[in-house]
């Protein structure tokens, strides 16, 4: 179901959140990880995004808003509801498609980027619009 590129980005997002002892992995973590992926960069650049600005703003936002798991407490980093919705929607969209080619296309990064933008009151979608304006 997942393209190799998306899998790498997901792993990277999880690892980054886990290493920093972030309590949650959010949609912003995913977008930040996707900025290291050429396919995602191509899509974002085509929308007129400034990748460096986005990266800087995302890092700042994640540092400011993500709760940290206190030292001495054993807890796993958990995906936020928004993060789960982004993945679920993408899978819902590609599951009825029987054509293998379209399956690969929809399970790829650009499609996930599109799902992120539909999240309500989500900082990521605002940043994306801001950096493209």
């Amino acid at each position: 179901m997942l393209s190799k590129e998306l899998e790498v980005s997901l792993n990277q997002a999880f690892r980054a959140a886990y290493d920093k002892r972030h309590e949650f992995i959010s949609v912003e973590h995913l977008l930040l990880a996707m900025l290291d992926n050429t396919a995602a960069i191509d899509v974002l650049k085509a929308c007129g995004a400034n990748i460096d600005d986005m990266r800087r703003e995302l890092e700042k936002f994640i540092e400011e808003t993500t709760p940290i798991i206190a030292a001495g407490i054993k807890r796993e980093t958990q995906p936020t509801l928004g993060f789960q919705r982004v993945l679920q929607r993408r899978l819902f969209m590609c599951s009825p498609l029987e054509n293998r080619k379209s399956l690969e296309q929809t399970s790829s990064l650009p499609y996930s980027a599109n799902r992120i933008l539909t999240q309500p009151s989500c900082w990521v979608s605002k940043t994306s619009h801001a950096s493209t304006s």
């Binding site: 206190a70 993060f83 009151s121 900082w123 304006s133």
Partner: protein, 106 residues
Amino acid sequence: MTEKNTNKPSDDLAVKEAKPQLKRPPLFKVFLLNDDFTPMEFVIDILKRFFAMDEEKATQVMLHVHTRGIGVCGVYSRDIAETKVRQVNDFSREHQHPLLCDMDEA
């Protein structure tokens, strides 16, 4: 059959789309609501477990909920606030308590 564009060049006006007005999305506060059934110890446990409070702070917030009917546990981005609310409500139901957690724009 289509109508011909009869506008003269001098009538043309260059129109530029206005840049969208942007603002940071609001933060959301997560709060607990009082009820007559959930034990105080359970509320303190929730506050320590999900909102990283120490015993003293948790007791303070619990008493606030108890006396004023509502107590703010923290302020987060929407995505994180929503997840916290779900975690607390699920945990309460698992332990058969009717404690209600909700969120609102800060």
